[in-house]
Symmetry: C2
Subunit: 555 residues, 2 copies
């Protein structure tokens, strides 16, 4: 390792949305930024969470100085419990972000061992040869940071997730003055998020949502339900404010809503008057027009509060005809169908439902900057080198075009893959090497034990089920003394398939007898032949390819 | 059955998008309208297609006079081969629709037996006491019909799928004059599609797409690829026209593109100059700017042409940097992720990609009328009773509100479920009874043999895999003489899980020995106990619940 080299790479977050993890290294000092999780798509059967493969970090554990967390969203903190089980690294984050990390560590019973260090936008830290300072950015969760890494080679800026909102909720302004100052001093490399790089214009302000929320509360007759991300504390505050203006008490429904609002209240990120919060049962004793409800489930999660309310399966609260339900969030791609199902159910209950993309209802704005926001950041920072992150390839691609449009030189933008390293030495940046990286799957309590083989089997089982064929052979002469017996699951409805099963058994018997006649006695050859003949037969009969599992027992 | 009663019901298509099938019955004369398929969502593991349960039709086979098909989309014709295997009913449809039905019957080797009757917008038919006439509507496929059923009780109108487009491609205008006339004569009940009942305004015209297509072709340097639904013959014609204007030859890629364009050419629905169509290999011999390609795969289907082109896996054609790819279709909800993956791949190849919703790129317009289109239909028809169809509940709900806004009396709209029957007698409509209905699953070649039990097993297998435990007992004394042997698939990576397997075998042995000691010898009790003890152990160890399958053999 060249002592004077600056290296930048991602272990998650590029060419994908989720599991963000970036590393800036100078010489022997490595700073890790964020440690996120990612939700599996429907092809990853049974997988609960995807986290970055941190093999490379484990191999370099003596060099890691800090994990700095930009903000408290799942795609930036979701991997922390698993990271901590492998690496004991101090974590630096703001007050609210630490609150959410602590909730997470509690769940995993990990509190106690971890060094959690609170920082704020004016903190300055030093890790070996690397100095760290921060700047405040606006996003859809409080207390977000951008990071400046001061290295002998030059300054590297990581934006965190951001938008520019001149009228944010809770006065959490982007610190444009500080950003301008950083840019003026010179930025060698900018690492900037790309989520909305495809969307033209400037992100709408949170102020718009507040106004729409107030109007909806004024117009509503019955109870009002608002569903949003618990971590969107700005949205929570807007609901609180609208409820105050219309003399409604507020019930919180859903575990994460209760927990996160608790953290936000304790730490001063949301202001709720004494006595305003009531529990769901007391809410039922009030007149409907005196009740507002904040609930989880805006993404259509089947077990969350809104889903259960929409089917009448929430014990302590019922939605009556005439009640209003506001979905104050946009469905994340992949969740549209689940959200739609809930909307259908709510309409069937007779509720008035306010839904749709934020732009049509005014009940949601994105927390990620659009093209003009991204250009403003690029213009403020005036970086020599640019690394777009936090996005699928098409977003990174568009972000690069934006960078070039505001003056980043062609050839100075690096669209990297996870594991690709941008090395900067004597002012010259190159990307030529890669380090180990990948997806680590969490399934139940196990991390990393489910890989491609297990998933391939699950896929086959999920498509066409399985057929287990048991045969007992005599050790003496290898003749069949019992079976074949066939058991199927997930393949066909057994009661209607007696002929099929009979033919499987006949084919199995014939295959074994034929092999015996040829003096073939290896189990694996027998099994292969049974799989082949039965598989062929079943495919011609059913056009299905169940997993076929011959079990041979010798007595 | 009351001889003078008019009955209307759906066997598919309400509270869902897909598997459209509607029935209008007067006395003993039943007319079936459409017979569609529906694609399964990700919870229906291994299922290929969903079709309506037609048990009720089978029970009333002597009353069915005709299957009339409004147009040739899959959600209106996809169930026909399965329908015909149960019911031999003559099919009435327009020339182009019949072409697509014939393609489908060819695939299922069903041609020959079926009576296919060509109709056009001016045809008049009589089935017992029911007369049938038609009117032309615009949609995203040629040759679409609305249907008027003339019954002694009054006229029933079924709109088919429609929008009003005053400048459609290929001059396939909605026949507004005829609709006005029908409305003037009196419509007892209107059955109208609701797909876009949530969208404000009027659907944009096909003309817009034509103009944008021309512009994109003029600007492009390299090859141009356009991906769209093969059945969207209007879009195909627009691509042909743009290619003619820019002197490009046209290659067709993808089986359905080749087949459907063939049908459209033969029957005169698309006009392509002699010699313009070339095959993919000859296209490679031309200069890139002389080549346009029409391909399937606009919904991100992994095996379709565009997907394979995007990963460089299409044998006869390669996308080079600078080539243009136009996605001239909107992703159907649920397909967004697959489409995004392809766009990412195309950008990585260096292609210019024109994508996004139709409204942002101008390369696609919906074939389904927006709110103002729906109101115009309601206004033209002035129905006494209104039944919104072809939509999820929220769409039907909004369509009812639209109907009331243009004068349909409150209480005269019926939001039905599949199977609900609206009976009209002496001018009075009531919905009080329901008939058998449901989803029939097609899996491979089998229809209806996969039900909830099989699907439940597939779900469990897909989540956590399976554990097969084989034990051989002695018939004489029921002692274990072989095993337990444990085989897992889709559960854990076996090589890393030897301890787990050893403990499964130990627990199984212990369970059997304990039961022996208590003189319990029933197999099912043994199996239950093994499942219980092993299941409990595995859940505490892994938080997973694999399917546990004990196999006991007695020798």
């Amino acid at each position: 390792m060249n002592q004077n080299r600056l290296s930048i790479f991602a272990l998650g977050g590029v060419n994908e949305i989720g599991k963000n993890m970036y590393v800036v290294q100078y010489g022997d000092d490595m700073i890790v930024i964020d440690c996120g999780g990612k939700f599996p798509d429907e092809t990853l059967l049974g997988i609960d969470l995807i986290i970055p493969d941190i093999t490379y970090l484990e191999e370099n554990r003596d060099k890691i100085r800090a994990l700095i967390v930009t903000h408290g969203h799942e795609d930036h903190i979701g991997g922390i419990p698993y990271f901590l089980k492998k690496l004991n690294v101090p974590i630096y984050a703001t007050r609210f972000t630490l609150g959410l990390i602590e909730l997470k560590l509690d769940e995993h019973r990990l509190t106690g061992d971890t060094q959690l260090v609170e920082v704020h936008a004016e903190s300055n830290l030093t890790f070996g040869e690397v100095g760290v300072s921060f700047f405040r950015v606006s996003h859809s969760i409080p207390d977000c940071l951008g990071i400046v890494l001061h290295t002998p080679e030059g300054n590297v800026v990581h934006t965190g997730d951001f938008k520019f909102d001149l009228t944010p909720a809770n006065h959490q302004h982007s610190d444009i003055h500080k950003m301008a100052e950083i840019g003026k001093k010179g930025v060698l490399a900018l690492i900037s998020e790309s989520t909305n790089a495809e969307r033209k214009g400037l992100t709408p302000s949170e102020e718009m949502v507040g106004n729409h929320m107030d109007e909806a509360f004024l117009r509503a007759d019955g109870k009002i339900f608002v569903s949003t991300f618990a971590s969107n504390v700005n949205r929570v505050q807007q609901v609180v404010d609208a409820a105050i203006k219309t003399n409604r008490k507020l019930a919180l429904i859903g575990r994460s809503m209760v927990n996160v609002v608790q953290v936000a209240m304790e730490r001063g990120y949301v202001t709720i008057p004494e006595g305003m919060i009531i529990d769901a049962r007391s809410a039922n004793e009030l007149a409907p027009e005196k009740v507002a409800v904040l609930c989880t489930g805006s993404q259509g999660e089947p077990m969350a509060a809104l889903s259960r309310l929409s089917t009448g399966n929430y014990r302590d609260m019922v939605i009556y005809p005439g009640d209003t339900v506001i979905l104050a969030a946009s469905p994340i791609p992949g969740n549209e169908k689940d959200v739609s199902r809930i909307i259908d159910n709510l309409f069937q209950l007779g509720a008035k439902v306010i839904y749709g993309s934020g732009s049509t209802t005014g009940m949601h704005v994105s927390g990620h900057g659009y093209q003009e926001d991204l250009k403003l950041m690029l213009t403020l920072m005036k970086p020599t080198y640019f690394i777009p992150i936090h996005g699928e390839y098409r977003m990174l691609h568009h972000h690069r075009l934006l960078a070039e449009s505001v003056g980043v030189e062609k050839g100075n933008s690096f669209i990297i893959k996870n594991g690709d390293v941008v090395d900067i030495e004597n002012g010259v940046a190159v990307q030529t090497r890669s380090i180990p990286n990948g997806d680590t799957y969490v399934d139940g309590v196990s991390v990393g034990d489910v890989g491609e083989i297990v998933l391939r089997d699950r896929r086959q089982l999920s498509e066409d089920g399985m057929v287990v064929i048991v045969i007992t052979l005599s050790k003496a002469d290898r003749k069949i003394i019992q079976g074949p017996d066939t058991i199927t699951r997930g393949f066909v409805y057994v009661k209607d398939s007696e002929d099929l099963i009979r033919e499987i058994n006949r084919l199995t018997k014939k295959t074994i007898n034929d092999l015996q006649a040829e003096n073939v006695r290896q189990w694996n050859v027998m099994k292969q032949n049974i799989k082949k003949s039965v598989g062929h037969y079943l495919f011609t009969q059913t056009k299905r390819k169940p997993m076929i599992l011959p079990v041979i027992i010798e007595i």
